[in-house]
C-alpha cells in the first residue's frame, strides 16, 4: 500500500471564543492548514474530508461533517463526521490516512472542532458525561472527571504514585502552554497552585482537570503520488493504530491503564517499525492529568507502576529525554 504524508496543518487558538461558531472555527483551522502547505494548495485538490467531533451542545448532531466543510468552501466532496468522544479527531486522521493509502483519495482533510463554552456549566457537564456508559456508569452521578478520578484512585492504591505527581504534570503542561500562543491557559503555575486547588473529584483537583474550550484543528494528508506537488519535506505517517474496549470502566479488565491505548500504540509501533524508545516527543490525551500518567505506561514509555518516576526525573519535560505534550495540550 502506498504511503500517506502530512503536507499541512493548522489550528485556531483555544479558549472561550464567543464571537466564533463551530463552522467559523473549523474554517479558520482549514485556512491555516491550507496556508501551511509549502507549495500552496487549492481547495479543489481536496478529495475528501473527515471531521472529528463529539458534537457538544448538540447543535448539529446530524450532518455536522458537511455543515463545516461547506462553510470552508469544500463543496461536493465526501464529508463525514467521526464520533469517538475524545478520540474523535484521532480517528479522523486515521480515516484520512486510510483513504489515501487505499487509493480512493489523493488529498484528504482531517480535522476536529468543538464549541464547549457557549452553554451553562450544567449543560457542559451533561455533555461531558455522555460518553461514559450511559445506563449504569453515568447514573452513579459521574462525568468524565469522576471516571478518571476512579481510575486514579485505583492507580494510587496499586502503585507508589501520589496526587502530587499529577500536580507536577499540571505544572509541566502549564509551563509548556505558556509558550504556546494557541493554548487556552497560557500561564505558568506553581506546584503549590497545583496541589492546593479545590477538589473536583477526589483525588483530582482543579489543576488536574482541563478546562472546556472552543477550537478547531486540521491536517492535510496526501498520497505519495501527489505529495511532491505540495511539499519538498513532507512528514510521512509511519504508523497508525487504533483499538477499542468496553465503554464502561466497570466492565474493563483493568482500571489502572487504558487497554485500548496499549493496543493502538502497539499497532502503530509495529507498522512504523519502531520502539517507544525511538520516539523524540509525544502528544498524548491529557483531559485529566491522570490520563497522561497512564499514557506513559500504556504507550510503553516505562513499565507498569513506574510512570511517576518519569515525572520525578523530568524525563517528559520540554528539556527531558521524551518531551510529552510540548504544546501544553
Amino acid at each position: 500500500m502506498r504511503d500517506a504524508y502530512i503536507i499541512g496543518a493548522g489550528q485556531t487558538e483555544f479558549g472561550a471564543m464567543p464571537g466564533e461558531s463551530y463552522r467559523s472555527l473549523f474554517t479558520a483551522a482549514v485556512d491555516h492548514a491550507l496556508d501551511s502547505v509549502p507549495a500552496g494548495i487549492d481547495t479543489d485538490a481536496v478529495d475528501e474530508a473527515v471531521v472529528g467531533s463529539l458534537g457538544v451542545g448538540g447543535r448539529q448532531i446530524g450532518l455536522s461533517g458537511p455543515a463545516v466543510t461547506e462553510h470552508a468552501g469544500l463543496d461536493g466532496i465526501p464529508s463525514t463526521r467521526v464520533e469517538n468522544a475524545c478520540a474523535a479527531s484521532g480517528y479522523a486522521v486515521r480515516q484520512a490516512v486510510q483513504a489515501v493509502r487505499s487509493g480512493m483519495a489523493d488529498v484528504v482533510l482531517a480535522g476536529g472542532v468543538e464549541v464547549m463554552t457557549d452553554m451553562s456549566g450544567d449543560a457542559a457537564k451533561y455533555w461531558l458525561g455522555v460518553s461514559g456508559e450511559t445506563e449504569w456508569e453515568r447514573l452513579t452521578g459521574t462525568t468524565f472527571a469522576g471516571v478518571y478520578a476512579q481510575m486514579a484512585s485505583a492507580y494510587f492504591d496499586r502503585y507508589e504514585a501520589t496526587p502530587e505527581h499529577l500536580s507536577k504534570i499540571a505544572v509541566k503542561n502549564h509551563a509548556n502552554g505558556a509558550k504556546n500562543p494557541n493554548a487556552h491557559l497560557g500561564f505558568e503555575c506553581s506546584l503549590d497552585d497545583a496541589t492546593s486547588a479545590p477538589a473536583v473529584a477526589d483525588p483530582l483537583n482543579l489543576y488536574h482537570c482541563c478546562p472546556t474550550s472552543d477550537g478547531a484543528a486540521a491536517v492535510l494528508v496526501a498520497s505519495e503520488e501527489v505529495v511532491d506537488e505540495y511539499s519538498d519535506d513532507p512528514i510521512r505517517v509511519a504508523g497508525v493504530g487504533a483499538a477499542s474496549e468496553r465503554v464502561g470502566l466497570f466492565e474493563r479488565d483493568t482500571y489502572t491503564g487504558i487497554d485500548s491505548s496499549t493496543m493502538a500504540a502497539a499497532t502503530a509501533y509495529e507498522r512504523a517499525g519502531i520502539e517507544p524508545a525511538d520516539l523524540d516527543f509525544a502528544e498524548v490525551h491529557d483531559c485529566f492529568a491522570i490520563a497522561e500518567l497512564l499514557a506513559y505506561e500504556d504507550l510503553g514509555f516505562c513499565e507498569r507502576g513506574e510512570a511517576h518516576e518519569l515525572v520525578e526525573a523530568g524525563a517528559t519535560a520540554l528539556d527531558g529525554d521524551l518531551p510529552v505534550n510540548a504544546s501544553g495540550d
Binding site: G141, G146, A149, A199
Partner: protein, 489 residues
C-alpha cells in the same frame, strides 16, 4: 362493632422498623424561628434526598422479613400504605414487590389518603387472609408496609412536627403476635388535617378544640367497639401528630398516660403520619411489651384499633446517627434548592430502564454458560470469554462487595440529573464495586456509595440498599446503591 376475628386468623410473625439516620432537634428550629411549634417533640427523623416512602418501606420490609426468617417469595399479600406516595397516581406497590422479590401473583394493595391508611392496610390484610393458593397457604405470608414522611409549610406546626419512618408487619399463620381484637370507627369530621389535590404540603385549620374532639371521639369509638380488656396492655401505640395529642385520648381509650408513653415515638421521630402508631408498636414490642394496643387515626375522620398479644420479634432502626442544622434540614427538604437545572440528563428511556429492573432491584447477574463468569448486566458478549451465549444463567447476587475504585464528586461536579441530589445532600461517592458471586467469583458494577468519604477506601466491604437513583420524564427510577457493611441501621 367488633370485627369478626376468626380462630384461624394469622398472627404477626415479625415487625421491621426503619427510620432515616438524619435527625434535627427542637433547638435547631428554636434558633431559626425563635420558637418550635411541635408540642412534645424533641427531635425528628429526616429522610435523605434519595429516600422516600417507598425506599423507607423497602428498608423496613427487608428488616421484617429477616426478623421473620422469611423471604420475598413467600409473600402472597402485599400492602403499601402512606400519605406521601412518591407519585400521586401510579401503582407503586409492584415496584415494592419487585424489589422484595414477591411473586407476580401476589395480591397487592395500595392505601393512602389519611394517616390511618396503614391501619386500614393491616385490617384489609387480615380480612383477606389466609392468602395464596390453598395448597400453599401454610407457607404464605402477608406483608403490610407502612411508610410516611409528611410535609407542611415551613412555618407550620405540621412541618415542625413532620418526621419520617416506616414499619413493615409480616403476617403468618403461626405468627407470634395474635391480633386478639380489632375494630374501626368513623365519624364525619373533616378539616383537622388535609391536603388538596396537587398540593405538596399538608395543612389543617388548627381549630384546637374541634381537632381534639374529632381525634378523641374517633379513637374512643374504636376502643369502645373492642371486646378486649385494655387495662392490661403494656403499651398503647397511638396516632401522634404531635407529642401531646395522644395523651388527650388516654381517657377515651381507657388507658393511662404511662401506657401511652410506652408506645410513643413522636418525641424523637416526629410525626410519622401513617406509620406513627406502627412505629410506636414496633418500639413497644422491641422494649419487651407483650400486649399492645395499636390505635390509628385519620382526619376525616376515622380510627382503627388492634390489640396484639405475644412477644413479637422486632428488627428496628429507630435511633438517629447524624444531627442536622436547620439550614441543612432545609436543604434536605428541597426548600432552598432549585431542582434539576436545564442541561439534560442521561437519557435512559422507561422501556430501557424497565428491562434493567431485575438488576436494579435485585442484583440479578448472568452466568456465562461457556466460561462461568458472571456478567452484570447480563447480555451481549461475555465480558470475560467474549463468547456469545444463547442465554445467561440467572444468578441473584447476595448484595455484598468490595470497593475497587472510588471518587467523591465534589459540589458542582455532578451532571444535571444529579445536581438536585447534590444540592440537598452534598458531595456524593461514586465507585466501582466488585460484587460477590453466590459461590465465589464476582462481577464489578458502578454504584453510588452512601456515607462519608472517610469511611470508604479501596477494599472497603459494602452492601446494597434501595434508593431513588434519579427522575426522568416524570418517572422516578429506583435502584440499588451501596454502603459500608455495618453502616446499615
Amino acid at each position: 362493632m367488633t370485627d369478626d376475628v376468626s380462630a384461624s386468623e394469622p398472627g404477626i410473625a415479625a415487625i421491621g422498623a426503619y427510620t432515616p439516620r438524619l435527625r434535627v432537634d427542637a433547638a435547631a428550629f428554636e434558633e431559626a424561628w425563635g420558637r418550635f411549634d411541635a408540642a412534645g417533640v424533641q427531635a425528628k427523623a429526616v429522610p435523605e434526598a434519595d429516600e422516600d416512602a417507598l425506599t423507607m418501606g423497602v428498608a423496613a420490609a427487608q428488616r421484617a422479613l429477616d426478623a421473620a426468617g422469611r423471604d420475598g417469595e413467600a409473600i402472597a399479600h402485599l400492602a403499601f400504605a402512606t400519605t406521601t406516595p412518591p407519585m400521586a397516581e401510579e401503582d407503586l406497590t409492584p415496584r415494592l414487590a419487585s424489589v422484595l422479590g414477591a411473586p407476580a401473583d401476589a395480591a397487592t394493595r395500595t392505601l393512602t389518603g389519611s394517616t390511618r391508611a396503614g391501619a386500614q392496610a393491616l385490617a384489609g390484610a387480615l380480612d383477606a387472609g389466609p392468602w395464596g393458593r390453598p395448597a400453599e397457604q401454610a407457607d404464605s405470608i402477608g406483608l403490610v408496609v407502612v411508610a410516611d414522611s409528611p410535609r407542611g409549610a415551613p412555618d407550620s406546626e405540621i412541618e415542625h412536627a413532620a418526621g419520617a419512618g416506616a414499619t413493615a408487619v409480616v403476617l403468618a399463620p403461626d405468627g407470634a403476635g395474635t391480633v386478639v381484637d380489632r375494630a374501626a370507627h368513623v365519624e364525619s369530621a373533616p378539616g383537622s388535617r388535609f391536603r388538596g389535590a396537587g398540593d405538596a404540603e399538608t395543612t389543617g385549620l388548627g381549630i384546637t378544640q374541634y381537632d381534639r374532639e374529632a381525634f378523641t371521639t374517633a379513637l374512643g369509638g374504636a376502643a369502645d367497639s373492642l371486646d378486649a380488656d385494655l387495662s392490661g396492655v403494656d403499651a398503647a401505640a397511638v396516632q401522634s401528630p404531635d407529642g401531646k395529642l395522644p395523651y388527650r385520648a388516654a381517657g377515651a381509650l381507657g388507658v393511662d398516660t404511662e401506657t401511652i408513653a410506652a408506645g410513643e415515638t413522636v418525641s424523637h421521630l416526629g410525626d410519622t403520619g401513617a406509620a406513627s402508631a406502627f412505629l410506636g408498636a414496633a418500639s413497644a414490642f422491641d422494649d419487651g411489651a407483650e400486649r399492645v394496643l395499636l390505635a390509628a387515626y385519620g382526619s376525616g375522620a376515622g380510627a382503627n384499633a388492634f390489640v396484639v398479644d405475644g412477644a413479637v420479634p422486632v428488627s428496628a432502626a429507630l435511633s438517629g446517627e447524624d444531627q442536622l442544622s436547620y439550614a441543612e434540614y432545609l436543604r434536605r427538604r428541597g426548600e432552598i434548592t432549585t431542582g434539576e437545572p436545564e442541561g439534560g440528563g442521561a437519557y435512559v428511556s422507561v422501556p430501557a430502564w424497565q428491562r434493567s429492573t431485575p438488576q436494579r432491584h435485585r442484583l440479578v447477574a448472568g452466568r456465562c454458560p461457556d466460561c462461568c463468569a458472571l456478567n452484570f448486566p447480563p447480555g451481549g458478549a461475555c465480558r470475560d470469554c467474549g463468547g456469545r451465549p444463547d442465554a445467561y444463567e440467572r444468578v441473584e447476587l447476595p448484595g455484598q462487595g468490595t470497593v475497587e475504585a472510588v471518587t467523591t464528586i465534589a459540589q458542582g461536579g455532578a451532571p444535571p440529573e444529579f445536581v438536585e441530589q447534590q444540592s440537598r445532600s452534598g458531595p456524593f461517592l461514586s465507585a466501582v464495586v466488585a460484587l460477590d458471586g453466590p459461590d465465589g467469583g464476582g462481577v464489578s458494577v458502578p454504584t453510588q456509595l452512601l456515607g462519608d468519604a472517610e469511611a470508604v477506601e479501596i477494599g472497603t466491604r459494602v452492601e446494597a440498599t434501595i434508593r431513588r437513583i434519579y427522575e426522568q420524564e416524570g418517572v422516578i427510577r429506583y435502584g440499588f446503591k451501596m454502603q459500608p457493611v455495618g453502616r446499615r441501621r
